[in-house]
Amino acid sequence: MNWLKPGKKKIKINPAMTDKIPETAVLKRKMKIARAKSYLENFSFAFPAILIFSVFYIYPFLKVFQLSVCSWNGIDAFSFGKFYTGFTNFKEILRDGIWWRSMWHAAYITIIALTLQNALALALALACDKEIKARNFYRVIFFIPPVLSEVVVGLIWQWIYDGNYGLLNYALNNFGLSNLIHNWLSDPNTALTCVAIVHSWKGFGWGFIILLAGLQTIPRQLYEAAKVDGASSWQIFRNVTIPLMIPVFVLVSILTILGSMQVFILIYTMTGGGPGYHTEVPVTRILASMVASSRFGYACAEGIIFGLVLLVLSFTQKKISERVKQV
């Protein structure tokens, strides 16, 4: 109960007044009042933040759990007793094929992001780590996609992929690859991969910046020493760079996993989850349960399950990173 103890707060007493100190009981009471006043003043600084946080974070947080055991359409006046249905929502989710498929889609996007996007980010970071001119120029350029909003990126790429007028098909046609032309985003076979590529395009700048920052902390002397010992560049990479970069790799993969699993607006703008349910991800499912089918309780239950999955993922990642640091 450490947090309940008040901080060390000294009430200053004028030394000249010490001979006029009243009885200790009175003094103690006065000190108490002064301290309470001071605490109240201190609290008033934090009060606006705590109020906003309670109303817009804690209340919704608790409300999710309450709604998740209810069957409520969002329109009727809500009363817990009337709509309480126990764990039926969760049981239904367990049997909900579309939901688990959406989870797989998110995992698929995450896997592509982890491999393709991070491999690209690492390659770029290694290239920029060499003593090249215009390093900052490339840094600035590569970080443009992460700065853009997902709506903007989604709408631009939706048009690039467009089956009739899209730039991609136009380019394929001009390069004599017209047999590859098709409707990228409405073909169930390609839609998800196309979305995943856009997601990687938008995200690789993050990994690049973090990896480059990590690479630049490696002391140059290590490279020189290895070179003097006659190591090839691959050996240097394998035995100097990689071991020193492992914490950074772990950090980047945590960020990639948590970010990619929750990808949503990009998909919402590009495909809306279609064709069929071929690009649905968990968050679009939650939104669909809420808006399209007016099942607020079900949406909350989905949110809880997905949140637990994310929590487990980030927890395992943290454990792994701790173990790696010990080695």
């Binding site: 947090w3 309940l4 103890k5 008040p6 901080g7 605490y39 109240l40 003043e41 201190n42 609290f43 600084f45 934090a46 606006p48 933040a49 705590i50 906003i52 946080f53 817009f56 974070y57 209340y59 919704p60 947080f61 409300k63 999710v64 709604l67 690209l120 390659a123 290239a127 060499k130 090249i132 840094r139 600035v140 350029i141 590569f142 443009i144 700065v147 853009l148 909003s149 997902e150 709506v151 903007v152 709408l155 790429w157 007028y165 910046i209 973090i210 950090l251 960020l255 948590l258 607006i265 703008t269 968990p282 968050v283 939650i286 607020f296 949406a299 949110g303 949140g307 929590l311 980030s314």
Partner: protein, 314 residues
């Protein structure tokens, strides 16, 4: 020993390949934006046939049409308004709270700070559902309250202006205020965390001096703590500005009137209504991107630092 000349050639070739690789990737980063901009200057008929980057006759009037008839003027101003108000709110509220958590202890202050920390750690993907419910419920309560105060208001105002007031509150004032508060909450935890760690590292001698000189706590916050924490505040401002400008989902759930929507939401509305008006859509996209891009290019050093700091902490 290596032959010096072949070594040099080898090294040059290697450098050349690296440059080509970097440039190709850089091109893929910029090209969609360039193409978006060039498409926004084409006409409805040339946009599908003429694939050149530089349009023959740039149609600058597309921007005018998008700004007025497409409604992007309103969306743009709304975005500016929301971003300014929310970022200002976050800076004030979070610096108060962070200062209090760092310097002005009160019972439970550590618990409160840990709550904000936990909020960053625990992912809650479906939180927009209860948030939507909450915003709707508060609106209902507010409207009931307004209706109950109807007779009182009628003493001062005519029936027509009372109705106008109600409509204005329900459609304009309330959604905007609700959206602003929701967005302040979104940025709060991270901002408090960044500022608190900054205040913790800051030496407290200046504040002590101010206190001895008889400065109030609020005065110390305003005159000493805030000016000294400028670097941290810059990070917060940048991070939250990008966040608010690019936010979509809450805007979709809370703002239903066109006149209250920010750009991201407006783009989706426009795309839904005029599916095939690509030049105008691209003009709208350009308008959304340009301010962010300008700010980014001017402040790129700080933005990269701020955004990565935000992501690593969160």
């Amino acid at each position: 020993m290596r032959d010096g000349r072949t070594y040099r050639i080898k090294r040059r070739a290697k450098g050349f390949i690296i440059y080509i690789f970097l440039s190709i990737i850089a091109l893929t980063c910029i090209f969609p934006l360039v193409w978006m901009f060039s498409s926004s200057l084409k006409t409805q008929s040339t946009i599908f046939s003429n694939m050149s980057i530089i349009p023959d006759q740039p149609q600058w009037k597309n921007y005018y049409i998008a700004w007025t008839k497409g409604g992007f003027g309103i969306y743009f101003l709304n975005s500016l308004f929301y971003t300014a108000v929310v970022v200002f709110g976050i800076v004030i509220v979070s610096s108060w709270a962070a200062y209090s958590f760092s310097r002005l202890k009160f019972p439970g202050s550590i618990l409160a700070f840990n709550m904000f920390l936990a909020a960053m750690m625990i992912p809650l993907p479906g939180s927009f559902v209860p948030l939507y419910v909450l915003v709707n419920n508060i609106r209902k309560v507010l409207m009931v309250f307004l209706n109950n105060s109807n007779p009182f208001l009628l003493k001062f105002l005519s029936q027509a202006s009372v109705d106008q007031l109600f409509a204005f509150t329900e459609q304009q004032l309330y959604p905007r205020v609700a959206y602003i508060f929701c967005m302040i909450n979104v940025g709060l935890s991270l901002s408090i965390y960044i500022l608190k760690t900054f205040f913790d590292k800051m030496p407290s001698e200046l504040e002590d001096a101010a206190r001895i000189d008889g400065c109030s706590k609020l005065g110390i916050w305003w005159n000493v703590a805030l000016p000294l924490s400028r670097p941290a505040i810059a990070v917060i401002v940048i991070f939250n500005t990008l966040n608010v400008w690019n936010e979509y989902i809450l805007a979709q759930l809370i703002l239903s009137e066109k006149s209250t929507m920010p750009l991201q939401r407006g783009l989706m509305v426009f795309q839904g209504v005029y599916v095939t008006q690509y030049p105008l859509l691209m003009a709208g996209l350009t308008m959304t991107v340009i301010p962010i891009l300008i700010v980014y290019l001017i402040l790129q050093k700080y933005i990269i630092k701020g955004m990565t700091a935000g992501a690593v902490v969160g």
